[in-house]
Amino acid sequence: MLCLGAQHLGLAGPVLSSSASASWVDNITHSPYLDAAYDATVYDVNGAAEWHNQLSRDVSLQYGANAGYESCPKYDGLDRVLAGMQFSVRRKLGLGPFAPAFRAEVSYTGSWYRESLRNGTRLVASCSWTQRWNDSWQTILAADFLHNDGHAAAYDYHNRGLSLETRYDLTERWELAAGAGRRLGEQITYAWLGGSGAEFPYAFDTWKNTTEISTFGKNWNAYTIDAHADSVWFSISPALGGNSSLPLRFEQTTVVGRGESYHTRMISLSFVKRF
């Protein structure tokens, strides 16, 4: 099978895509304390090239590269350039749109922040199962393992997640999606030690990998906690023709662990274009 596939490698051109988003986050500091929960808007642009090579009737390889830039005018330490690559194997169990598909993917992304402490690489290994029930309904069950290897200790963390998303196409133009997921493992968060209410002895007993940062001002620390993060999201996505869309997404995440909990809410509007 691999020999059969090898002769096809590189023959099909890449599919190019790009996106631009504006995202407002109510607690970009991931803080349990209201007076330290800062909001911000993040803008990003991304471009990607992906190759798809069908190896046999059921199995295909996809590989690609992407690059992007994110800007947070309010906290410019979060500005970053990122570049990554992905590799996935997809097996579709049968013919047609209603055949279930299984995908295993590995992605590796490097990030270079204005605040260089945050620089690092991220490895994500994931698998997903997609089932289309009819022309309108589709369900995606996904699991992943994430490892972030950062320059500073606080940005060394790993966790794993499980999510379920269902999509419904109201029409060929309008798509609704809703999902929920849980991440287990280390979560990165921040504390303002100049009045956040955190009790230092307790905090430093339970926080891990504390790193002083300057992103949000003086006396801020980044640290990791062992926690679980529950997310729910909803999106509505109008298609702008066959190759572009304008998804509006709302997501809320609740992180609970080691005696701390915090919420983040995010609203993002994106423009996605496939060439």
């Binding site: 798809h52 055949a99 029409t171 996505s237």
Partner: protein, 215 residues
């Protein structure tokens, strides 16, 4: 079946009997607002004698271009061969699960092409196993007398020798085909007008979706 209704504009010419003509033009419009319906296949099958077999078969082509099939609807006579060239820079994998013709063709290289013979009458729905939104229809007919409506909703059948015919109009979004018997007479012309209540154009969405962010 009340979904389809017909009116014979040429009734005055042809009398009260079913329309008879050597040349028949059909116009298809929507019931709701009278808009012209493109891609409806109109066919006339002789009832008094066997239909002439396929003569001088031309190679019909359904290309894959811009990750769509072109044309969306193709009508052929039984025995016709259809060529499927991949004119995209991405791979395609054509398949049909339809009873009259089950097949699959991997077209993994740009410029690759393959053909299939369609030897059983019926509707064949084709798709691409890589790009789920791609769909097209092949109407395999037991008669050489057929045509497809254009953007004005009009289709002109080839000249019909005198005799009785089963006239059928099919469209992908019509709940059922309309069937009517007509009689063709020499040196006559008729215009038949049909109205149809089309189902919504429900296809698998092609546009990309959004992705989560890190925040």
């Amino acid at each position: 079946m009340r979904t389809w209704s017909t009116s014979v504009l040429a009734a005055a010419l042809l009398g009260l009997a079913a329309p008879a003509a050597e040349t028949v033009k059909v116009v298809v419009r929507t019931t709701l607002d009278g808009k012209p319906v493109a891609d409806a296949v109109v066919s006339a099958t002789p009832l008094d004698r066997p239909a002439p077999p396929l003569a001088n078969p031309e190679m019909v082509e359904i290309e894959q271009k811009d990750q769509e099939f072109r044309p969306y609807v193709t009508a052929v006579q039984v025995g016709a061969k259809i060529n499927f060239p991949n004119h995209d820079t991405v791979q395609h994998h054509i398949y049909s699960l339809s009873k009259p013709k089950r097949f699959e063709i991997p077209l993994y290289q740009t410029g690759a092409a393959a053909s299939e013979v369609f030897d059983t009458p019926g509707i064949v729905t084709i798709g691409c196993n890589i790009h789920d939104w791609m769909v097209a229809y092949i109407v395999v007919l037991p008669t050489p007398y057929f045509a497809k409506t254009d953007n004005t909703g009009a289709a002109a059948l080839p000249p019909l020798p005198p005799g009785r015919y089963r006239l059928e109009v099919w469209h992908p979004r019509a709940p059922a085909p309309l069937v009517q018997e007509i009689t063709s007479a020499p040196d006559k012309a008729a215009v038949l007008e049909f109205s149809v209540a089309l189902k919504p154009d429900k296809r698998i969405r092609r546009a990309p979706g959004g992705k989560p962010t890190d925040y």
